[in-house]
Symmetry: C2
């Protein structure tokens, strides 16, 4: 039986992914629920192979959960507290699922090693992804009971500091969305001005004046105006827009990180 | 002889610090030069003890180099490439300083272990600090020939990816300075409007229109106006300002990370 401690991972480093989507005027986060008694939710995460970039590890984890590869992904925070480990959550899980763990300390060296491996201090690298929910088919792993999208305002209580990690991802998104122009990754390829406004209102959790918002967004000069959206009522039909990477690259004088 | 591999550090994780100061209308970075033949400059950095927060490790490294403790410090990026190691630089250093290394591979197990420890892949956590240069007395360590402030436009060629780390720190500062209002940490406690404008011009490496800038800064509503600066010519004397943390905390509705 191969155990996690046999694999060629960097020790004491993990990656956690906040996968953000947008639907029905709400920001949502993709969260698996573990198939153990006791309601354990946790962000999709994993470890980094010795020969793997940390960004690659995050993309591997994302792909395993969403089925898609070409995703906006950003490293935004390191959780580096010395007392950060999964001991409390793992002990609670073992206590409530004795039938499945069957006293792990007596199961021989390999289980003991895995317990020790998992419960060491971990420095965790936080990533957030912005995805077009219509492209995603959430994927369960062997350890999951379910995987679902939760509105950011109705997150389940997650293990360790994972709720805080989601909060920090949102803070980062709000702080830099106007400079990075990354919110458009949450929409389908074309959208109306009304839809962009609703998205920004969901991100900032506040309303923007209807007459100011289009001006503010168009001033960013990264939207291409397309044909009108077919609604049946031609004279009231709103224009469709598309985010233009070409216009963006002309705009940015300082390249952001790769 | 105690070697680095004996210490209770987290393996394969390091911390690198970009210490930014401001003087004579220039942003500057504090960089030590190692006391080895061959011109080796590198950012102040180090490792993380098992019982130490990553933020604490950065503060420890900063304090050792600047002599000051209460510093604005922000974790901004992880360097996580799989091929990121110090092998090339260390081999070059050993080749050019044979008298001091005296064939490290033959020196016995301990040196060999240290060589192996240092040349493994490292995931590096990047921090930047904003300091009031007038408060700093740069500190050499035993390994340094010198330690100096270098203008960001005239950085020496540093080891590994350290020049890129400085670039990324600047990108982050530019991207978020208006939301985090952290640039004031680079100034002394009181300053004139002209001095703030020069600081922002140094950060963004461009000029701002003299008549727009004060309006833009005062609109942030975090500056307290004090008495006029004594210049001898009372009627032309500019006002002094001070950054107000109280005004700032009233302003921010979303707390930034701690």
């Amino acid at each position: 039986m191969e155990t996690v401690s046999d694999k060629n991972y960097i020790e004491q480093v993990s990656v956690e992914c906040v996968i953000l989507g947008y639907q029905n005027r709400q920001l949502k986060v993709l969260v698996p629920k573990l198939s153990f008694k006791g309601d354990f939710w946790g962000l999709p995460g994993g470890f980094v192979y010795q020969d793997e970039d940390t960004d690659e590890a995050a993309r591997r984890i994302l792909h395993a959960r969403t089925g898609i590869k070409d995703v906006y992904l950003e490293q935004f925070q390191v959780m580096g507290k010395a007392n950060r480990n999964s001991r409390a959550f793992l002990d609670r899980m073992i206590a409530q699922n004795a039938d499945r763990f069957n006293n792990p300390l007596a199961e021989g060296q390999r289980s003991r090693m895995d317990y020790d491996w998992f419960t060491r201090r971990f420095i965790s690298i936080g990533y957030y992804a912005l995805v077009d929910m219509s492209q995603v088919v959430p994927q369960k792993t062997d350890l999951d009971e379910s995987i679902d999208w939760y509105p950011v305002k109705e997150m389940p209580p997650m293990i360790m500091d994972h709720n805080q990690i989601v909060e920090n991802a949102l803070t980062t998104l709000r702080l830099t969305v106007d400079q990075k122009l990354n919110a458009f990754n949450l929409l389908s390829e074309t959208f109306t001005m009304q839809e962009i406004q609703e998205l920004y209102e969901a991100i900032f959790d506040k309303r923007f004046a209807q007459n100011n918002f289009p001006k503010r967004i168009l001033r960013l000069n990264v939207l291409e105006r397309l044909e009108k959206k077919y609604t049946g009522a031609a004279n009231k039909a709103p224009y469709l827009y598309r985010f233009s990477h070409e216009l963006q690259s002309q705009l940015l004088t300082n390249d952001l990180f790769e």
